[in-house]
């Protein structure tokens, strides 16, 4: 046996391989991104034959994994919670059709939210699709539940969702594990069109079959005592009990254990759907009231139908937004305990220190694009060239173009393009020539840019689309894109040309440039602007290509320049506000604008930014 500190996502990877995962597909997204690389690391070290791919998006990933499970393999598909929206079409249908081998979907939730558009709760997607969902409290439990999910899926021929929240994914925990063994199950496809290609008539039957599976699985969950249990003492009555699952259970458990509060019973449920009613009934009977603490939304609370008895979000006891961090859980429990005339917990929050921190007026740290980031150059040029434009943008590091005033909208993956065409038609309907510049990253374009671009071309929308091509998927941790021809495990794939895809969508204006060359970028944007106004023109696509400085640390800036600020500087703050490079700052002690040489990457883009020409290359 070996002991190692695993990231939660690594513990999940371990659990999947221990359960014989043969195929794993994924699209990166915080907090799920590390599952796939951890699977690859373990596969390589144990010399397993597991097939792993970064798919172009979550729907593609799920369809691929589904097919593998139909062929009898143990397949897994990982994504973040909003990724499951993209894959929802597949999920709903796959639930009815069922599987043959295992199909486990891992959808990582982000209460907070720390790195997502919404705080949506994957458990609701499971309820909507009518598939079982497992809710781990710790990395170790996630590892063990990965096997439960795999076995359950194969036995009942149903997709199963494992829903770790960010505090499981990005926790680190010491884990003891042994050797991994290869699952040697071979592919076999049994033709069964009434299932695999079911028409609506058969779908009704499949729906009935699915409901039957759920009834059986609920019973199975009632007996899953390793993960679902309560701490009632026989025959005892309690004024208040707590129902919890997932990360909040771990928090509740730690608080009660630290204070040795055996007088407060807990019902822990790791399988919120299908809800194990039989396990819940005796707990409800033994408690006068129960407090439900669950993340992120209200699910178990709905299943506990006794409104008089149940405290939670619907009764206003549990916050309806934001993460249930320990101090929030502590406060929530204390309110319920006091109302139930039970001795409160010790260690109430100290309002003094909160007030103190507030009074210090600490600077708000907004994330910024890195020094030398090519996106900064692109955004600066775009804003300067088209100051009156609507800037539609997308999901990635470049959402931070907000700070440069060059991002106005961010809806979902691919919406830079679809919102640009939407704005175009809304304004042109009124006869208004509204400039629109859309920005989208390379990986996001591959994910869901093409359908929107095809649509925009076909419906003759007119706008400039800048594809910010930094040759990687930067925000989520530098995963390769299809354009690189490098696959998830580092092996060679076929490189797919961005230019050819754009041309294939029917775009006739395509210019590729390096955004570090602001002058060239400016010229091209002017040309693009003229083109979109020509009667025979169309959408103009500019591919601003320069490698990410994190992914290509050693060669992203081949010609490093030493930059200084001269006495010509009028302290107008233009560079600080409009260019917003972390290496350019106002030095309080010197009383002037200065360059932080430790942060400066020497990209030299700022040399053409100052209106007074006060940023120059050192002699």
């Amino acid at each position: 046996m070996k002991q190692e500190i695993f990231l939660g996502n690594g513990a999940i990877a371990l659990g999947l391989l221990e359960a014989g995962c043969q195929v794993l597909t994924s699209y990166p997204g915080t907090p799920s991104s590390e599952i796939l690389p951890e699977v690859i690391r373990l596969v390589k070290s144990a010399n397993l034959n597991t097939y792993v791919e970064w798919s172009t998006n979550e729907k593609v990933a799920l369809d691929n994994a589904f097919a593998a499970s139909v062929a009898g393999k143990r397949a897994v598909c990982c994504m973040k919670q909003v990724g499951l929206n993209v894959a929802a079409d597949s999920l709903m249908s796959a639930a009815y059709i069922g599987t043959k081998g295992a199909l486990v979907i891992i959808s990582c939730d982000d209460p907070g939210p720390h790195s997502s558009q919404t705080e949506q709760d994957t458990r609701f997607m499971a309820r909507l699709a009518k598939v079982p969902v497992l809710d781990p409290s710790t990395p170790e439990e996630a590892r063990r539940l990965a096997r439960v999910a795999m076995d359950l899926s194969e036995e009942f021929r149903i997709p199963v969702i494992l829903r770790p929240a960010i505090r499981v994914c990005h926790a680190r925990q010491s884990i003891l594990y042994g050797d991994l063994e290869e699952n040697k199950t071979k592919s076999a496809f049994e033709k069964d069109p009434m299932r695999w290609a079911a028409t609506p008539r058969f779908r009704l039957m499949l729906h009935g079959e699915l409901n039957g599976k759920l009834r059986e699985i609920a019973k199975r969950f009632e007996a899953l005592s390793e993960f679902n249990f309560h701490t009632l003492e026989p025959g005892k009555r309690y004024p208040l009990g707590i129902v919890a699952g997932g990360v909040p259970f771990a928090v509740v458990r730690d608080i009660l254990q630290a204070q040795d509060r055996k007088d407060i019973p807990v019902l822990k449920i790791a399988t919120p759907f299908p809800f194990p009613e039989g396990l819940v009934a005796p707990f409800m009977d033994a408690c006068d009231r129960v407090l439900v603490i669950e993340e992120t939304d209200t699910l178990m609370e709905y299943f506990l139908r006794d409104k008089e008895k149940v405290l939670g979000r619907l009764s206003g006891h549990v916050p309806s937004e934001g993460e249930l961090v320990p101090q929030v859980v502590h406060r929530t429990m204390n309110r319920a305990l006091e109302e139930s005339h039970v001795e409160p917990l010790q260690g109430a929050e100290d309002p003094e220190v909160m007030d103190l921190v507030k009074s210090l007026d600490l600077p708000v740290r907004r994330p910024t694009l890195c020094p030398g980031c090519p996106h900064r150059a692109s955004f600066f040029a775009i804003r300067k060239n088209k100051p009156k434009a609507i800037f539609t943008s997308d999901i990635g590091c470049y959402t931070l173009g907000l700070n440069l005033g060059a991002v106005d909208t961010c809806l979902d993956m691919g919406a830079a393009i679809t919102m640009a065409s939407g704005f175009y038609h809304a304004f042109s309907q009124d006869g208004v020539d509204q400039p629109i510049v859309a920005t989208i990253g390379d990986s996001t374009f591959f994910h869901s840019g093409t359908a929107g671009l095809l649509n925009a071309v076909y419906n003759d929308a007119r706008f400039i689309l800048v594809i910010l091509d930094n040759l990687t998927t930067a925000m989520t941790g530098m995963q390769p894109t299809p354009a690189l021809g490098i696959r998830a495990d580092g092996s060679r794939g076929k490189a797919v040309s961005l230019e050819r895809i754009v041309a294939g969508c029917g775009v006739d204006f395509i210019e590729v440039l390096d955004p570090y060359d602001l002058k060239k970028m400016n010229e091209v944007l002017k040309k693009a602007s003229a083109y979109i106004h020509e009667p025979e023109g169309g959408i103009a696509v500019v591919i601003a290509r320069h490698p990410c400085l994190i992914a290509y640390r050693d060669d992203a800036v081949p010609d490093r320049k030493t930059v200084v600020i001269t006495d010509e500087c009028a302290e107008c703050n233009f560079c600080i506000e409009r260019f917003e490079c972390p290496a350019i700052y106002h030095d309080q002690e010197l009383g002037r604008t200065n360059i932080n040489n430790q942060l400066c990457t020497g990209c030299g883009v700022c040399l053409s930014v100052c209106p007074k020409g006060a940023i120059v290359e050192a002699a």
Binding site: E34, A250, G347, L356, L360, P363, C397
Partner: protein, 189 residues
Amino acid sequence: MNTLNMVLCGLGGQGILFMTKVLSQAALRKNYDVLGAETHGMAQRGGSVVSHLRLGDVQGSLVQTGAAQTVLALEENEGYRNLPFLAPGGSLFVNTASPSFPREEVKAFLLRHNIYWHGVAASAIALSLGAPLSSNLALLGYFSAFGEDPFNHDDLRAVVQETSPDRFREKNLNVFDAAFEKAMEEKGN
């Protein structure tokens, strides 16, 4: 065993995850159960970054406010922002070159709650050794002079030696050692 709680904070890119990794490894070697929480994603682009580390029989990865024995801050304001985590009698280690650290109102709070504070110019130490990006190792080296089991000096140093990538190992150790020496000098005075 009592639970040991620690909060590490600073700005994205300062190497908080590496610092957490070194501490976790040191604890693992002493057979502690290790549980921690990290910040990933957008905040890593220069935003506030916090990492939690818990040793003992715990299941939740986050430290509750008022429960941390130690806060390590790679930036002064981030240290202040995370004051609520400190337990009475705890210790605050801050990378700062400011002679006025800690701010007066903070000092009053720390004194009232018996919290020890240590300001160290970790960035300056790292810079003087030609490793401007290694403030994290300087703070760690400084802390190691005060650390108690499982975070004593020799163990932390051994982990730095083993976990540093080859091309940074020597510089990392130089910075770690220099900051440790500085702490020992200060303790001597």
